[in-house]
Amino acid sequence: MLRITGGKVYDPANNINGEVRDVCISGGRVVAAVEDARTIDATGMVVFPGGVDVHTHVAGAALNFARGLIPEQHRQAAPIIHSRLRRAGLGGSTPTTFATGYLYAGMGWTTVNEAAVPILSAKHTHEELHDTPIVDKTCCVLMANNEILLDLMEAGEWERARHVMAWQVWAAKAYGVKAVNPGGVAAWKWGKDAKQLSDPIAGYSNITPGQIVAGLARLVDELKLPHPLHLHCNNLGAPGNVTTTLETMKTLEGNRAHLAHLQYHAYGGDDWSNISSASTTLADAFNACPNLTTDAGAVLFGNTVTVTADGPWQHLLYQLTGKKWANLDVENETGCGVVPYAYKPGSPANAVQWAVGLELLLLITDPWRVFLTTDHPNGAAFWRYPEVIRLLMDLDFRREQLKAIPDKVLKRIILPELTRQYTLSEIAVITSAGPARALGLSHKGHLGVGADADVAVYNESADVAHMFSYPRYVIKGGEVVIEEGELRNVVEGRGFVVKPAYDETVEGYLRPLFQQHYTMSFDNYPVAPERVHGLQVVEPAP
């Protein structure tokens, strides 16, 4: 039992905005009152619900491939030395599994959503998530290029497609459905891409990317999954791609969707020489669509590695950088590309990307619908979130940083005109309350009675980057893990998994397809529930 007293509590889900009050914890939950409890004096500190990362890549085959591809970055990464509490590991742009848990918790984040899991590597992913301590985990399974599903859509068998989707979510022990470059990755297997929503998809004759987007979003809503379709739109990264993004928003026809890393989808211009920010247009359209949520996918300057299922884009990026590239083909399900990348302020395209991430966070008016991410590790490593927070909260710092941006780029971005500064309460929304709500995790992201006791306590300070980098206390599931800024206790996280209802006879349809087309036998394919450590099953209402 625990009582956190004297701190200013920021709990926007319960309309508490910096009020000094007690937070009481018992049995891993927030409770109304406790007696004879250990007391943490949080005077001069702020109390936040633990951070929730709605979109990150921290486990699985693709990320491991990235880890293997960048030994040169690992040599420079901060080492985590083995101790009684901690396993050895490395920080850097793709921290090792245990380090990922320590670093997230070390920043006050207590829940992460691994955003891209092919079922074929889901077992591996869950093992890595088990080795990512402290934080609770959810993951999204890749579907928009799954050939079984695409074949069903091509044949117009939507009813069966819904059962297959539900079966696959449970088979992968996933929490949500992810779509990456719908149709484009399937086309990549023929050396093609599908950039526009009406483009043909190589290997298919009836369906278009637009129909896949609309169809998947509808199926997810019909299955009543707690998290809407998690969508990486077509035409990522390309100059002028805002038109594709706007069209995607229309195509969704009012179905729910979470648009991932919107920064990569908000560019104007025609080519790399005149790429510009289109965040005003996009934010205006987004503000008018209450069915949508998004995350920033903000970029920070420095070395990192880009990892995505969007194989064709990664090939283009490789051609642009001329450095390293890895391509993975995941049989009938998806693809993957890995390209190490350095964002430089002197590069006009990178400078625009940096500005667009911040512009979207500042222009989208409802903080409950736009969340803080860097699409880790694509835009920057997650442990750099405090830098983004500082850029959002501190106008002077932002103006200082803008001085590094080339003059010709300043005309193509609107960041210099924006004067909005985030409040602490809004930061609590975009880092915790909002993403928890978007994920449908009703017991996360707030400090009301009954909520999971995931709490971050920060020193209140004008230097917000420092403040959010070094929480004084972090409590996960009622256990104090960080105390006086030091890791004192390592607990295991839980895995939230959704089990949507489906017709069991769908297995009879899937089995022969597997035997014919997969390298893995059907019986070995689904992830057994025992493999998900700390399994928490969520069953949507029928």
Partner: protein
């Protein structure tokens, strides 16, 4: 001068990047003795393994068979390290200045990713001399490595600038993916010399079996080589340059990249 005499040869590699003028220069003898070295995963003191004599300064002499002592002179920027005997792997890695001399032989990764300074090995050197560490885009970016004896595989892998000269024969893949700089092989090389090279010069005084992706471009008397010859002669490497002695056959490649590197093979008159 600081003298470090190895008490006994360690049975597993000893990581001793503290043997560098930059680290010891301003330390008291007591502090030098207490410097940390790692034997496998065990943390030891420098004087657990070495007899430490003399005053710390810009000169260090290591005595004994230090062939299992790694990282001597790592990242040094100045001063002089002499190893009387053999040195282990990663000798002078990341160094940017000063000089390292070894009277015996050295292990792999001598001068890995070095930026400046001089390393001289009188005996043989291992593989990956002046090379890029795994994953890095470029290897040595400056400085000089001189080896009296032979050297191992992947010599000068991805090197960008600087000079490597080797007296004996080197093994496969010398100048692999080389991006610039100069490699002088007075004793020749095994196979696949210059594979994937983009730029840079490899000079060999002995005929080479070149890859088919190198194109013969005729006889050549490059002026710049006279400068190298003058620089290398006092260091014990004789490069013939007079037209009456013969000519260098120039091969360009590696066309598989495609690269603009050159391999110059001496052909006596």
């Amino acid at each position: 001068m600081l003298t470090l005499t190895l008490k006994e040869s360690p049975h597993v590699p000893l990581e001793a990047e503290v043997i560098s003028p930059d680290v010891v220069a301003n330390l008291t003898p007591g502090e030098v003795r207490a410097l940390p070295v790692l034997l496998g995963k065990r943390r030891c003191r420098l004087d657990d393994w070495f007899d430490v004599d003399g005053d710390a300064g810009d000169e260090i002499e290591v005595r004994g068979d230090a062939s299992k002592v790694k990282w001597i002179g790592r990242g040094m920027t100045r001063g002089r390290v002499t190893v009387v005997g053999n040195a282990g792997t990663h000798l002078g890695a990341y160094m940017t200045g000063g000089s390292v001399e070894v009277t015996g032989s050295a292990g792999d990764w001598v001068g890995g990713e070095m930026g400046g300074g001089t390393i001289r090995v009188r005996g043989d050197a291992g593989g990956q001399l002046g090379a890029a560490y795994r994953g890095s885009p470029s290897g040595m970016s400056g400085g000089t490595i001189l080896v009296g004896g032979s050297a191992g595989i992947e010599l000068g892998m991805r090197m960008k600038r600087g000079l490597i000269a080797v007296g004996g024969k080197v093994r496969d893949f010398a100048g692999l993916q080389m991006k610039g700089g100069t490699i002088v092989l007075t004793g020749g090389a095994e196979i696949r010399t210059g594979a994937w090279m983009a730029r840079g010069t490899i000079v060999s005084l002995v005929p080479l079996r070149l890859l088919p992706t190198f194109a013969a471009a005729g006889p050549y008397h490059p002026t710049f080589l006279r400068l190298y010859a003058r620089h290398l002669r006092p260091l014990g490497f004789a490069l013939p340059c007079e037209p009456h002695e013969g000519a260098y056959r120039r091969y360009t490649g590696d066309a598989a990249v495609p690269g603009k590197g050159e391999v110059l093979v001496w052909q006596p008159a």
